[in-house]
Amino acid sequence: GVFAHLEMLEARASAAAVKQEETELQEEKLARLKARVQELRLQRDELRAKVDLQQNRQLGKEGAVSDLAQPSARAVLEWKIKSVKAMLQIFYLTGISGKLTKRGVCFCISTAYEGAYLDSYHLDLCTKPEVQILRHSIPTFIPLERIAKKYLQTDIRRFLSVLSDHLNAYVGRRYQAEQLQEHFSDQIEGTLQRNSLCNLLVFNYNVSSKSKTFPFNVRLLYGDLCCSLPTEVIVSSTPNAPASLAETAAAHSEVFRRVALHKAFHSFRGAERSVA
């Protein structure tokens, strides 16, 4: 009847109102976004012009106006602060950096393999009444206590230097193994076995001879913990391998003794290519 009809009209009007509100909200949102985009575009364009002007001024190009404004005292100090911070960051590249703390010093030992900087380790030391290690992030397989017992009280520089040697060598060995797995996985058979200190490495790799491949087994022992080259190398082929491979095994053994692991494989690949 009438009521049903009225109800229907009411429902329809209400739905229309809701839709109307939704549309208005949507339009408002769009308008806001559009305004924001325009604001940001303007800001970006101004910045681009500022940077171009700055570069022109520095290159002494035509149309550049020299900066006659005197920098404020605050700006000068802020420049100096940034400049000192930059120099402190450079110390990171030297291998030993740190900052003074209330109780002593917090040292940071950085490690690197050739140009690639790898992990860094921290040592929080208190210096009075005697030198003590409060906290550190040295891995447990590095003989920290032994090194500390020998040098910490008498010669902190030496202590840090020896610790740095151990850490850099460990990181160097680990890096070589990782590089090997990353770049020469096609030649490696199975998985590379190593201990946490990365001073014992055992793996199998394929050597091709006369279009047949033979597995070699390598056992590398790094007896000097401060060195990233092995002290003991055993390369062995399988019993059914041809006799000529014994020579190859001996040659490879020599290379592993003198050259970093991933570089050794790089040279094998090169040699194979030149023979083929």
């Binding site: 949507q26 949102k29 769009l30 976004l33 559009k34 924001r36 985009v37 940001l40 575009r41 800001q43 970006r44 910045l47 681009r48 500022k50 940077v51 700055q54 570069q55 520095q58 920098p71 005292a73 605050r74 000068v76 100090l77 802020e78 420049w79 100096k80 602060i81 940034k82 400049s83 000192v84 911070k85 930059a86 120099m87 402190l88 450079i90 110390f91 590249l93 030297t94 291998g95 030993i96 950096s97 740190g98 900052k99 003074l100 010093v105 950085s110 490690t111 690197a112 050739e114 140009g115 690639a116 900087y117 520089r157 230097s161 740095s164 850099n168």
Partner: protein, 190 residues
Amino acid sequence: MDNSICRAYEDEIQSLEEEIKLLTEKYEDNQQESTFFSEEEILMSIKSLQTEFQGESEAHESPSDLKAQLESLETDLSFLMKFTGICFTSHSKKTMEKTRNRTVQKHRLSGNCHSLSFQLEFQLLEVQSKENVSAVVTDLSIIMESGEDSDVSKFVSSTEEHGNLLTFFRSLSSYAEWYEHRRCTFLHFK
């Protein structure tokens, strides 16, 4: 239809905000890297700030905060130089490339370790990944005062070839200490 326009605007906003951030950093880096103030100018600025804003507190760092911050940083720096024996006399850098996760800077560094002086130039590439920042040194060039010494020049060229900046500093430190010790010993016997 409207939703896609909204999303297009939102994407543009995000990319503009990023571009603005990079441009601001580029401008500030450029300002920093092309300016130089002498120690006198620094001291004058410290004095001038203290008298200008006596007692006034500002929205950003107060002048005494800046002075304290500078002093703390300089104390750390002079401690490191004294401790390691590596003394930097000048450092300049130029940002060659900067994107969201990649920065390439060219550094020029000179200094000495005990009595041995050096001049370095290198390029530093920093890449930001999810967990950390990785740094790689390339194009390393080293000039050492005692470059005529054949041991030193062999060491320098091998270091340059592999970009072994870390090894350079660590070896320099121990060599300089030994060299200094030897020099003092000779002087003692003169």
